[in-house]
């Protein structure tokens, strides 16, 4: 699937959307713009005239491959740009994940019915007591049954405990916060076929690489389990981009050019063809190299990233494959042997 995201003066930004889409690249402003539009579009933003002025006062659209408008309510939309956003989703306010999650747990309905039976009995009791006989007019009470929403928002609060001590959500480790979010999402999706779109922006800055790797595996399992679930990730740090055979096509690069990656296998073979030596990395080493260099693709950098020799070569060949005419240079030193020996030596 494609999203063609409207831009005020550029061509529409083409995003290749899969179950898990990742958006990287050195054009931070364009990534931010893309996030902003996704957020407003699927988040149901009511536009002001200032919001629309750059679009000639027409609401911006997102189109699909065949040029149809993607409906703004195509998805239940959740944006997580900070842990404040996550906290909001965990609380039981209307419109949050936690609220939707609890609503779907079917067994509550029976309890609710029993509650409202009591409410009706109270009505009867009250009306029996009031027993007012004022002329023609009859006075009585009528009950409004309790609703699930009313109960959830007023009568239940989430708590986090450690050793029987309640603690603030802020003190739960970020890794645990993400787990909780995914677990709720899992619970909710087990009860619904409605479509959910989750956008996570730079959330990886807040957890260790190890935790993020676990998190990423969890979302991979989730999207396999639930075809109605879609993630769009904006990874932040070097090293957090995840590339495998399945999702590589949904890695979108927003740099000087906007492209998405090809299949890993295809890229492996293409790069191998141009590789200057026969000692081409293994498939796994190539995949890791891809994860490292993709954020630097398609961009002319003021300051070159510090990369290993192999990664530098792979980066240059990939740019070439995308017909992007730019090469990073590699600082030649005469003392490589000494340096390498140093690195290999034990402490």
């Amino acid at each position: 699937m494609k999203f063609f995201v409207q831009h005020p003066y550029k061509e529409r930004i083409e995003l290749n959307i899969g179950a898990i889409t990742q958006i990287v690249g050195q054009n931070n402003e364009l990534k931010y713009y893309t996030w902003q539009i996704l957020n407003w579009y699927f988040g149901g933003k009511k536009y002001s005239s200032e919001d629309l002025s750059i679009f000639d006062y027409e609401e911006p659209t997102i189109l699909d491959e065949v040029g149809e408008i993607v409906k703004r309510n195509s998805y239940h939309y959740i944006d997580i740009s900070s842990f404040k956003d996550l906290l909001e989703q965990i609380e039981y306010k209307k419109g949050t994940l936690a609220h939707a999650y609890l609503r779907k747990i079917v067994d509550i309905v029976a309890h609710l019915e029993r509650i409202n039976e009591q409410v009706e009995l109270i009505e009867e009791t009250m009306n029996r007591h009031i027993n007012l006989n004022c002329g023609q007019v009859e006075y009585h009470l009528e009950n409004r049954p309790l609703t699930l929403d009313q109960l959830l928002t007023k009568n239940f609060s989430p708590f986090f405990t450690i050793d029987n001590m309640n603690l603030s959500f802020e003190w739960v480790s970020n890794t645990d916060k993400l787990s909780l979010f995914l677990e709720m999402l899992d619970g909710l999706l087990s009860q619904t076929t409605e479509k959910y779109l989750i956008v996570l922006k730079y959330i990886d800055s807040f957890v260790s690489e190890e935790s993020y790797t676990i998190f990423y595996k969890q979302i991979c399992q989730l999207v396999k389990k639930y075809p109605n679930l879609t993630f769009i990730l904006f990874p932040s740090d070097q090293g957090y981009l995840k590339i495998d055979e399945e999702n590589s096509k949904f890695v979108n690069i927003l740099s000087d050019q906007v492209e998405h990656l090809y299949d890993v296998e295809f890229m492996y073979e293409s790069v191998a063809k141009h590789y200057p030596s026969n000692n081409f990395p293994t498939r796994e080493d190539f995949r890791i190299s891809l994860e490292t260099v993709t954020p630097y693709l398609l961009t002319k950098m003021l300051r070159q990233p510090s990369l290993s020799l192999v990664d530098s070569v792979v980066l240059n060949i990939l740019n070439q494959l995308f017909h992007f005419n730019y090469r990073i240079r590699y600082p030649q030193t005469s003392d490589e042997k000494l340096l390498q020996k140093f690195l290999e030596s034990k402490n």
Copy 2:
């Protein structure tokens, strides 16, 4: 019991307070002032500096016979000056009669308990479903049990129906509105020994004399039934003052002088002594005459009320008994016989 109500520059206003106190007299401003202070005092008004300026910035007080301050929270206080006030008391907002009334109906508690059992079961169900295992931290929901207040204010509404049609409180006849109010009061007081003070101002303007008479009988029965119930009435129209042996001492006259009536029997005998003829009215006729003339006592009127000959005489003698030196004159006519014959003739 006495209330000595502070006044900014006059002596304290002495009110003789019984189970049913009535306040009449031609000094409308003083009656209004008295009502205002009662209302602020027992209604728990938080005074501003402007409120207190006329009292040298000290809160006004009401004293009892022995000079002790009557506590502002001596009574649950309800002021009814208009049917808007009555409507407020009938609705289920906190602090209203209806709210207190429903709260006291004991059988609700059992229902509420059963509701909260269900709420706890929901909590259990939810926590079983959530079953989150994120590191050391345990995540769970805690319920806040529903309270009676929450249920009453959110889940019950009063309705008035006539022929199965709901209608606004405004369309209920004023007589029925008052009945409803008294019936609620009755219900509430059957469950509590806390003291209630009800002030009704000019409420008689809105019902027929017949309805008001019934209303008055009802409150007489109520105060007999509940020693913790006290009424202060400000009757408005001529004819709405109710005098009997029991309450006559609690009829306070706020005119040029502030006094309360004596026992009916004592006044009957005192007036009889000064009556110019032997044909003195019966006890019942005297009582009715008292009801008629009391509002005009102790005042020098610009314009004399139109009163029957006998009432005029009684008024003058009563003023004399209170040492109030003023007589209304009676227009003498030479044609009384003709006029009387006319009145006696059939159509």
Copy 3:
């Protein structure tokens, strides 16, 4: 002019409306109903289904002589049923008399313009200081000029002072409160030709007869001065009805029958014809008698009002003129001479 006020099951209530209309009579419930409808109708009430149920869910109407609907926005409408209402009108909230009054004082506009010149200068100063040069985008402030409403409601408060001491509106004498209201009304109407309808209900219970008489004279002068001003009064106590040649036709009696009075002169002559003696009251005495007996017309009373002999006769003849078949009886006594002598004697 006539108002035909819709009633749910009776015929429309016919009110004869003049510059000053007075509504009296023993049918308190009907008077209350009439007030309620006037209040909702001209007060712009948005009806609920409960409000309309007694009218078969159609909005009630008020018709004029020719059967046309009187528009609900025909008048600026002010209802004063209590001094709380009066206080509201005196404060500067939007929609109150005081607010309208101050808005009309033309000289403020010039000051406001000068204020907004300064606001613009502040804008200029600020924008000069900000002087932001961020790429293509220009940043600046824009001012929203102060409005009269904003100034009046936020920056002015009414105060009552006595000997340089601020005091609450409640402590201003009721007589003074009414004066203030009329003075504001006068000021406002001197600046506008828009129509104002003022309904005053039982307001006379709160001031002395003397003050009420002055108040009534003031409103007579106001309606002469401003043809766009209309009063509807619901007088409460005996003695507060004001009848003169000009307004007698606009005295509406809501009792067992609904009627309005005739011209005083016509009634004088009609009553004279049926008077049982030649000693008919003077025109002025007859007028006073009319003021006394009119509230008791057209009704069968459980308990007769205490009236002088002459007033009793006039009441009976007037009922007869309205074809209302009811006579009050007069208690005959054998000792009239003695009683009268007593009344005439000095202390």
Copy 4:
């Protein structure tokens, strides 16, 4: 200056604080914790019992070198973690930078005085018109002068224009948003000697490296100009850490160990001593190398960063200097010459 930030179960986190402090390192959770505490501490958070439970219900503290508690109100505190935060600071709500900024522009006071002169004139005009003479009581209006706060929040709005078209803050480029923020800060600080602490978290993810470099230079100039200004930066991506002779000591590394860097010159010489060859990088190359490797210091990584040979060596030597016993390995390849030749070749 030092901040010793309390931690629930670890030792206090030692931060070396300068005019510009940077916090990097692979321990993302610890960095997040540090930010959270700074934010709550200087942001004036009112703690709940859940917030304090992990601290044995005592408020956490930040101590300085000599063990004194750093006062929570030591600084005006501004936290910018997202552009939503930046937007808030740009709007004119109370407590924001923009509000403080505009308040300090002295020339407004004169305008405000002129406005309030007009308000007083309005008061006079009104009081002259009211001219109420009701008994003893005098009625008048009193003005409440407009305040700067009232004017700023109610009567001015910020606008962004491009080609005379207003556009939303969201559409201003992130680079321009930051410029605007700094310009306001500059304006504000030119008028005050009060201390400001600005915390910027991962803000660099949203702008190009080039823009961030300009931004960093601007804040360097600002802290030189204003000794009462302090920044704490949490840089996000590789390449955004800025190291120079002046600030290197204030680069804090939160990884497996918590340390701060030494003087650049000292590190240059220390590393040179251990460097395996004589071909040691120039001072400038070393500085760039430092910027590259510092975020990876003091941590054992699951996955090694891709670094050039020289950077890898510098990283290892630096770890050694900090007595951190860990070395990254460098993948040896037999084809280096070929790869290097490839990189040097022109397209």
